[in-house]
Symmetry: C2
Subunit: 688 residues, 2 copies
Amino acid sequence: MDLTNVQHSPMGAHASFTLGHPGSNGGLGLGLAGPAGQNVYIAVEDAPGSGSFVALPFFATDDGDPLARFQGGEDGRTAESTGPLTALPADRVRRTLDAVTDRWTAGPLDFAVHSPLGALPEPPCPGDPDAGQRDADPELRLAVLPAVLAEFTVDNTSGTAPLRAFVGYAGSDPYSGMRHLQAPGLTGVGEGIRTAIVTDAPDARTAIGFDIPFLLGDGHSQPAGFGLGQTGLLVFEVPAGQRRTHRLAVCFHEADHVTAPERCRYLYNRYYADLDAVASAALGNFETLLARWRRAADDLGATSLSEERAWMLALAIRSYYGSSELLEDAEGRPVWVVNEGEFRMMNTLDLTVDQSFFEVRQHPWTLRNVVDRQLELYSYSDRYGISFTHDMGVANVWSPPGSSSYERPGLTDCFSYMTGEQLLNWVLAAAVYTGTGDIEWCTRRASALRDCLDSMLARDPGATGVQTVDSDRVAGGAEITTYDSLDTSLGQARSSTYMAVKGWAAYRWLERALRALGDTPAAEEARFRADRAVKTLTAAVGADGTLPALLDDPEGARIIPVVEGLALAHLTGTDIRSEPRLAAVLRDHLRAVLDSGRCRFDDGGWKLSQTSDNSWLSKIYLCQFAARALLGLPDDEDMAAADRAHAAWLRHPTESRWSWSDQMIAGVAAGSRYYPRGVTAVVWLSER
Amino acid sequence: MDLTNVQHSPMGAHASFTLGHPGSNGGLGLGLAGPAGQNVYIAVEDAPGSGSFVALPFFATDDGDPLARFQGGEDGRTAESTGPLTALPADRVRRTLDAVTDRWTAGPLDFAVHSPLGALPEPPCPGDPDAGQRDADPELRLAVLPAVLAEFTVDNTSGTAPLRAFVGYAGSDPYSGMRHLQAPGLTGVGEGIRTAIVTDAPDARTAIGFDIPFLLGDGHSQPAGFGLGQTGLLVFEVPAGQRRTHRLAVCFHEADHVTAPERCRYLYNRYYADLDAVASAALGNFETLLARWRRAADDLGATSLSEERAWMLALAIRSYYGSSELLEDAEGRPVWVVNEGEFRMMNTLDLTVDQSFFEVRQHPWTLRNVVDRQLELYSYSDRYGISFTHDMGVANVWSPPGSSSYERPGLTDCFSYMTGEQLLNWVLAAAVYTGTGDIEWCTRRASALRDCLDSMLARDPGATGVQTVDSDRVAGGAEITTYDSLDTSLGQARSSTYMAVKGWAAYRWLERALRALGDTPAAEEARFRADRAVKTLTAAVGADGTLPALLDDPEGARIIPVVEGLALAHLTGTDIRSEPRLAAVLRDHLRAVLDSGRCRFDDGGWKLSQTSDNSWLSKIYLCQFAARALLGLPDDEDMAAADRAHAAWLRHPTESRWSWSDQMIAGVAAGSRYYPRGVTAVVWLSER
């Protein structure tokens, strides 16, 4: 059984039912920076009437509750660390995962969690002419439902007496206690008004108590009102000779506004006033939702990928949605936010552009929503012209317009400004969105595009096609790139070949876009600089056929992501075959750094920089695509070995509790964990 | 300097700015079961321009932030555990506390926190004829304001350059980040939409960052938008030659409904829509509020008490308000809840009756509010008649009507039913409220009082005046008393002499109340049973002049709380002098168990039961009052030694982080911590 946590996440609820890693490492998390750290119980009696249970291993063995201190006094009872519950060993459980369904099977127990995938229609603004109709769209209502579904099957066909089973969790909200939910057609346990697990199984009963030994021992005869303790269970009994599948919904809700100082609330509040409404809708539409999500999983077509690739993509999709927030502002306008995983920075622009590969395929309006907000509120001008902030805030706190929560002057590494790179990222994100055919949108942004071009040109005073100056915002420091925790090989923006190819991609798209907008002189300037970038890069090839990471350090480090911009160029409509010189240089470079081992780890995984052990999976995914689909490197055993290595990093014995993570130091997740950016892997689906 | 945490708490906000215990043991807590566990910074530069600071010791020395891992990578910076901030040693700080003001003074630094005391007018229900007028009452609006005030004085009169100082905290909410607050006339730092510290000092500036070394080092030049890290500071600069007092408000807010399944929200939402509104009102009414609270402190008259007693009362009052919740239900009706400290059970009835000593003096309507709700929703009938549930729910989750979150069948100790005791508690709480002169209320409750009498009679089938049977609810177990974690000396309800005196007090009041209501036969029955109780108790006196804890175990343990009921009898209008036989028995008993040392700890503190080291301060306070004021024991050196011992328990080197605590095992807080019940000490004020 694979032991990686998966964020079983609704779309836009910043919520996850995280499960997969043993111990109290999962649970129902809403708005958190990591797994909720709760005990989750999925258990079945080991034999009818035995009173002892086996369970999936998602709980700590010492699950005492401070309230049990009530029974303390002098002869205090301490919570039993062992009890009637035994965790199943990994080798007795079979697990399968795709982008929608995560399933564990062990003997008579089968537990599957299903998470949303598929259409996310754009919610209307209150003033829109068709707002009423679109608001009533059942597809929209169901798409924003903050719940995931589960099926808990217990097989007692060979039993001669009833078999008991239960599902539940120990809440960890600091403000609320556990409670019973009861409404027509549903029974559940929840924590306060924020999370719950509910079922429509007619004979399910609920129990709340200190811990499992209590609930299976003394606690089983408790009256309905008993409510002490943080553990809540849904208990089922399957008659002899039967196999039953119990439908569950894992529900999330937050009614108040969640951001400050600008107030936004979760948009789902339009349709679901509280947890009970979410629970009803989830159970009431169980079949519809499940069928829709399974169809979306089929449509995704991940089965065309190798097993490792399909698995990484599935994991990444769920972490992406786990970080997503669909809000509406005080005027009811939709606001899409992707939080930056454990860091929770909001709509970090260097992630937005990478996630555009996924968003443009699934729900391009979210990309437009972010790109528009970035232009309207989170752009600024330095001495060279327009650029864009690193992010829009952190942990539901909006930064003042024109500033990020991240950037500070006087630095040369982490937390410095990303002025040049964010300029490219916004242009390329706008380009990706425009590729959906929304020419009207692009036309309205014509002056912004022109401003962006001017700003790019100004940062390249030598007309080399490459950014060679730093923003004055750095105030004595130096600009950095999205690779903020790497060494200068990828961390430095100025004269970076990684930036140069990304810039080339932006120029190529601007050339076409500005020409289409009728601004021929600007288009020509963009074309000229793109050509110059190619020329500059070509001229920088060293004696061994490789490109340096930094043009101003020809003998310095070699990096893989010099090819990364090709993927964005491809996505934004630039035919790589039309740029044979650049393609040849990059092909030779990439072959050389990979074949020589300079950019490989011992396990076959890709090492983005020769001089750093810090490698980023989201970026590796893009570079792999560029290598295979755009540069013609073979999808051979070396590629498969790399995939195995990368998947193994995500399956790390302890760090896989962080679900999908980006920054891997020598194969160990060390930052950017619980992270949304891995959906770059979706680009693999376009390889065929 | 005294190191006990104090819950600087608004009235009815379930919130505390907890401060006093060294380390990260205090902070801004809203809805929590204990101290927020935050670093709180109150610091002043040790010399003008030195760049190094001394601070009150309310922070941990290792205050790294996980976000600093951003800077990790391979050559990762780890957060400095030492920095430019040094905690003042306790012996350099002077501290004074009364019920309103807690003040620390050390060299040029003086920090005072002021918390509400005084009138809490009853908020109107929407339908009340004078609702509009009462809702507009500025006294009500200010009384429910969820904020405490502080004054931070920095003395730079002898300085020749500006002296810097700062105040701030590291937030711990799992869902939100720190933020800057800026509005006309106020500057502040807060966490999400729930907590903030604000000032009206015109030159204050704010800073947010990872930790103090960062904020005082690199971070000081950060741009306004920088928002990473959980530490927020308000920074002041005091010019040379000046002494400045900066006004602060520590604000709390929760807009959404907080309870389930019945939805209630904090009533202050009627007047304050958000944290900013709270902040504005607190700073805008600073002088008015402070003057009002100081006047209330004077009116309380605690200076007539010994220093130790005044200190314990002040501490207890603040913990009481820290547990209090003034809510309104979906119809806008006020709902008063006192949470049970660390256990957060709601309106636990055995606490309600003890806290009635305080509530009837400060705001009797809250007592009525609870007593009414208990009768309407949380009463039930067993085979003997009416009784009342132990509580109304836990951690903002209401129990189903007629049941508590606590009671379970089949037990003989903790978590068993308290049917008999809660019956007495409700009668006595109703009696205390009736003592305010609200005869109309009492008249409306006539049938309930009659039901209560019938239920008491039925539980005393032998007509001994004492409960001798257990409720059928215990289903084979045994009823317990509020002393649920003690041994049977106080834990058993049946045949308990503690219960007998409490029952006698209830009978005596019922006798008068029912007579006044015209129900002479019932009044006579009550009188008869009260007399029988006296007779039974008198007959139970042992050869050594003491009473056993349990009538059915004459040679068993001796306890102090057999006298406890006298305090309630006194409060409900029964003249102890009219019961000379009982008084004499109890006086002799108490003298004997105290003088013999059977009910004393080595330190002179009172040991409630001879057979248990578990002693409860709230109850000791009542028994001390009964001893001195009602039984004529002298207020001598033994009494003073006991006070010193009890205060020392609350000043325990580590457990004093729990502020006021009730259950002390051999002088160490071991349960019922962060607890509201200590306001029984207010009864001392009536000794003169």
